[in-house]
């Protein structure tokens, strides 16, 4: 089934550790995004990529990095995790020739202790 796959679905991590959240899409969408969802704050954009080889910063980029080596993959890395990065992370993609709709992965719940 076409769509977006995120891994892991859930992870508990010690503070200071490095962590990469994986995201893969098979819809050949140009744009990909990483959001974090926190209670009472909605979804906030961390980083985005409008096409392979380019990335940009969203609202809350500090402590996170991304890469876009190809169309399908858009990993999110926490270089040194902190408790405030405990959140649910969503990867999403969209086609610029389409309706503007975002297609979401199922989310990754990350707990930093």
């Amino acid at each position: 089934i076409a769509g977006i796959t995120q891994a892991p679905t859930s992870q508990i991590l010690a503070a200071g550790r490095r962590m990469t959240l994986r995201c893969t899409q098979d819809m050949r969408h140009n744009a990909m995004y990483w959001y974090r969802q926190d209670l009472g704050l909605g979804l906030r954009l961390i980083h985005y990529s409008n096409t392979a080889g380019t990335t940009g910063k969203g609202e809350v980029p500090d402590g996170y990095s991304v890469s876009r080596a190809n169309t399908d993959d858009f990993p999110l890395t926490l270089a040194s995790a902190v408790p405030s990065q405990t959140s649910v992370y969503f990867c999403a993609s969209s086609s610029h020739r389409g309706t503007g709709e975002l297609f979401f992965g199922e989310g990754s719940r990350l707990t930093v202790l």
Binding site: N30, A31, Y35, N50, S94, T99, E101, L102, E106
Partner: protein, 117 residues
């Protein structure tokens, strides 16, 4: 900067009744898109309905419809004949093109809707 405001953190409705969720936004753009997404307890984000700003006609998808008031920058969602499966967090979202292939999407903080039997 674009902002999206959902003024109702929580709402409840009886099954089979109608409920309206509010959303306002602030922008100086003239060309943009508006969306309502639903997030049930499964955590999956599901598109409910979308509206292009240049279209005056309100979008409708089965039991879901919007009241788009461009001058007032308002985009409310009406759910008719509410069903238990409509229980979810609802997010209003605003998207506009930055130019070329660049877009910016901003979400509201969400409204938790509970449908009671």
């Amino acid at each position: 900067a674009q902002t999206v405001t959902q003024s109702q953190p929580e709402m409840s409705v009886q099954e089979a009744e109608t409920v309206t969720l509010s959303c306002t936004y602030d922008t100086s753009e003239s060309n943009y898109y508006l969306f309502w997404y639903k997030q049930p307890p499964s955590r999956q984000m599901i598109l409910v309905i979308r509206q292009e700003a240049y279209k005056q006609q309100n979008a409708t998808e089965n039991r879901f419809s919007v009241n788009f008031q461009k001058a007032a920058k308002s985009f409310s969602l009406k759910i008719s004949d509410s069903q238990l499966g409509d229980t979810a967090m609802y997010f209003c979202a605003f998207m506009f093109p930055l130019g070329g292939s660049n877009y910016k999407l901003t979400f509201g903080k969400g409204t938790l809707l509970t449908v009671n039997p």
